[in-house]
Amino acid sequence: MTLSTQPLTRRRFISAAAAIGSTTLLVTACGGGGGATSAPSAGGWTIPTTDPTATINVLSHLGLKTDHMQDVVDAFEKAHPTIKVNFETVPFDSLASTIDARVANKDGSPDVYWADQPRISALAARGEAEDLTSAFSSYKSTFAPTAYDAGIYQDKLWALPIANSTQLLYYNKTLLKKAGLADPSASTDQRMTWEQLITDAKKAKDAGAQYGFLFGQFDRYYQLEPLAVQLGGSPGASGNGNLTPDFASDAWVKALTWYGSIFADGTAPKGLASEQTDPAFLGGRAAYMVEGPWLLPQLKTSKVDWGVAPQPVFAGGKPATPTGSWSLAMNPFSKQKEAAAIFLRWMAIDDGGGGYIKYLPSPELAASVEGKKVYFAKDVFSTPQGQDAAKIIDFETANTAVNRVSTIGYIEFETIMNQMYADVRNGADPKTSVDKSTAQLKTAWQKYQ
C-alpha cells in the first residue's frame, strides 16, 4: 500500500486535517527568499567496496511498525553492520513539504528519502535530489523500463525505483453467474473492451449487484490516464519539459465522455469515495473492479469467489495500463553519501532484486526484474487465480505500462487533472472541462516558462 495515489487512510486524513488547521495561520508568514548557496555538484563520491561506519537518516511515509519497515531496516543493518539507519516517518500528505523544508536546511538530513515517482523531475529541478547517474546508471537493465525511466530528468538519473504497480480487472464470479455472464478471459491476448465491460456490468447490476463497475481510484490521473492513451492521446502534457498542457484533444474528450457516461447511466456510483471501493468489492457488492495487485492479499482472506483478467481496452485502441510507485532519492547536501548509496543499492538491487521487496512482509510489486520473481513466489500467487494475476502483472509491467507524465510542474498538473475528472464524474461537459482545465494549467505553469 505504498502508492502515492492510494486512497487516504483515515489516519492520514485526520493528521492532514489537523495540519491544515495549524498551517492556515502561517500562510502570511512564509515568503520567498532562501539562501544563496547552490547544491554541491554531483560526483565526488562512489559506491565504496568496504562499508564506512555511519548513521544515515531515512525519511519515509511508511511506518516502522504500521508498515513493517522495521523488518527491512533490521535486515539492512544485519547485512551492513557498520551502517545504522535512523528511520523517520511523516504522514504521506506532508512528505513533499517536509522534504522541501528539510533539504533546504542544507544540514544534510535526511540522507535518503522516499520520492513519489511523478515528483522526481520537480525534486531534481528544485535542487533537492542528488545526481545518481554515474553511480547507478549501469544498473539500468536491472529494472522494468518504465520504473527506471521514472527517475530520469534531463537525461540524468535522480532516484532509484524500489516498487512498481499495475492494474487488473477483478470480477465477482457469483454476481456474474447470477446475470448469466461468462467469466472474462485471463489471457492478455483476449482483452475485454471497455464497451463490452459496461454492457455486462449493467446486466450484472440489473441482476442484483449493488455496483456494476468500480475503479479502485475514481477521479485520479494515475488510474485514468491510460484511457486517453489507449485512444492515441498524449499522457496529458507535451513540449519542452512537458510543460504544455496537451489534453484538449479528441482522444481525451472521447475518454472523458466515456468516463462521464458510466456514472450517468448508473453503472458506476457517483457518491463513492476511493477509500470505499476496496471494501465494496471485498464485501461482494460489485461485479467488476479495476484495481491494483494490493487487492490480492485481501481477496485471499475474503469470502468473495473472484477471478482476474487484464485491464480492458477501448475497441480499436491499443492496450495501456497505469504504472509507477515509489523511488528512493538522496539529499544533495548529505554528509554520508557513500553510506546512503550502499543503502539505496541494497534496497533496490542487492539480494536478488532489492532488500525492500524481499524483507517487507506484505507483498509489494517490485521495480526490478529479479525482484518480480521474489514477488511472484509469495503466498498470494499460489492459487489458480493468483497464478493468472502473476501472468497478467508480469505482462503489463513489461509491455503496456504508461508512466505518469514527467514534468517539473507535476503537482499542479495532477491537482487540476483530478479536479477535471471529478467534475466530469459529476456531470460536467467533457469538452468544456478540458478547455477550462487547460486554461487553468497554463496559468499554473506560467512560473516555469
Binding site: A18, T24, G31, G34, A125, Q419, A422, A428
Partner: protein, 308 residues
C-alpha cells in the same frame, strides 16, 4: 475638599509631576511591551514579509534563491480570468453569508432573551456546534450531505427529490455557507445576547409608556443600543468568513468546477500545494486588502449612523 489643592503654576510640584508622568509612561511601556512585541512579531513582520515576498519570483522549493520581479505576480494574477472569478466569488460569498449569519444570530439572540421556557437549554444547543472542532463538524456534514447519505434519505422518505449537494456546482458553495453558519450563528449569538442583556430595562419601559410596538422598539431602541457588540460581531464575522478555509479544503477541494474556490483556499493551494510561495504571498496581500476595505466600510457605516 478643594481647599488645599496645589495650584499648577508652582514650579516644584510641576517638575515632580512631570517626573511622575515619565515614570508612569515607563511602567506603561513595560507592561505594554509583551503586547507590542507580539504585535510587531506576529502581525507587522509577517505582513511586511508577505508584501515584500509578493514582489519576488522564485522557483518552487527553498534552495534556488528568489529574484526581484516588481509587480509581475500581481499582473499575472489579474491577467488570469480564473483568479478574477475567484475574487468575485469570494466577495459575493461574503456579501451573502455575513448579513445572513448576523441577521439570524440577532433574531435568535432577541428570541433567547425573552422569557421562554428552557431558554438555557436552547442557547446551549445552539452553541454546541461551536465547541465541536471544525474538522469534525466538516467530516460529519460531508457524510450527511453525501449524495447517497442520510440527508437525501430523509428527503426521499418525505417524497422529495434527492439533491446533489457538494457534487453540484450550483449547490456546493451554498452547502459551505450552511456549514459555516451552523457553527457561526451560535457563536455570534452569544455576543449579541450579552449585548442585549446590557440594555437598561428602563428604556423598554419608557418605550412601552410611549406605546411603541415591538418593531418600533426593536428599531429605535434595541438596534441603536446594540451598536457596539453589533459592530464587533460584524467585523469579526467578516474576517472569519474571508479566511474561511477548512470546509473548502476538506469537502470540495475548491470544486466542482471551481465553484467553491475562495481566495483563502486559493492562496493556500498556491503556496503549499504548488509551492509558489511568492505568488501565494501576492494572493494573501490582495485578500487582506479586500478584507480591510470591507472592515473599514463597516466601521464607517456604523459610526456615521451613531453620529447622525
Amino acid at each position: 475638599m478643594t481647599a488645599l489643592r496645589t495650584t499648577p503654576d508652582r514650579p516644584e510640584p510641576l517638575r515632580r509631576r512631570r517626573a511622575g508622568r515619565r515614570l508612569e509612561l515607563f511602567w506603561g511601556a513595560v507592561f505594554l511591551a509583551p503586547v507590542l512585541v507580539s504585535l510587531v512579531v506576529l502581525r507587522i513582520v509577517p505582513a511586511v514579509g508577505a508584501i515584500s515576498a509578493s514582489l519576488y519570483k522564485a522557483f518552487p522549493g527553498g534552495i534556488i534563491p528568489a529574484t526581484y520581479a516588481g509587480l509581475q505576480n500581481y499582473r499575472s494574477l489579474f491577467g488570469d480570468p480564473n483568479f478574477n472569478d475567484t475574487i468575485v466569488r469570494t466577495i459575493v460569498f461574503n456579501l451573502i453569508i455575513n448579513p445572513l449569519q448576523i441577521l439570524v444570530a440577532l433574531l435568535v439572540a432577541v428570541l433567547f432573551v425573552q422569557r421562554i421556557p428552557l431558554v438555557g437549554l436552547w442557547r446551549t444547543l445552539l452553541f454546541v456546534p461551536v465547541t465541536v472542532p471544525v474538522v469534525g463538524s466538516c467530516i460529519a456534514w460531508g457524510a450527511a450531505l453525501n449524495p447517497e447519505g442520510p440527508v437525501n434519505a430523509i428527503i426521499s422518505a418525505l417524497g422529495g427529490k434527492p439533491q446533489p449537494f457538494f457534487t453540484s456546482p450550483g449547490q456546493a458553495l451554498a452547502c459551505i455557507m450552511v456549514i459555516a453558519s451552523w457553527i457561526g450563528i451560535g457563536y455570534w449569538m452569544l455576543f449579541l445576547v450579552s449585548g442585549l442583556q446590557a440594555i437598561p430595562e428602563e428604556l423598554y419601559d419608557a418605550a412601552k409608556i410611549d406605546r411603541a410596538g415591538p418593531v418600533r422598539t426593536f428599531i429605535n431602541i434595541t438596534i441603536p443600543m446594540l451598536r457596539r457588540p453589533l459592530l464587533f460581531v460584524l467585523v469579526a464575522d467578516t474576517v472569519a468568513n474571508f479566511v474561511l478555509f477548512v470546509p473548502v479544503q476538506l469537502l470540495t477541494g475548491g470544486g466542482p468546477q471551481s465553484s467553491t474556490t475562495l481566495l483563502m483556499f486559493e492562496a493556500y493551494r498556491t503556496s503549499y500545494a504548488y509551492g509558489s510561495r511568492n505568488l501565494g504571498a501576492a494572493q494573501v496581500v490582495l485578500l487582506t486588502a479586500i478584507m480591510l476595505f470591507f472592515v473599514l466600510l463597516q466601521f464607517r457605516l456604523l459610526r456615521e449612523e451613531g453620529e447622525s
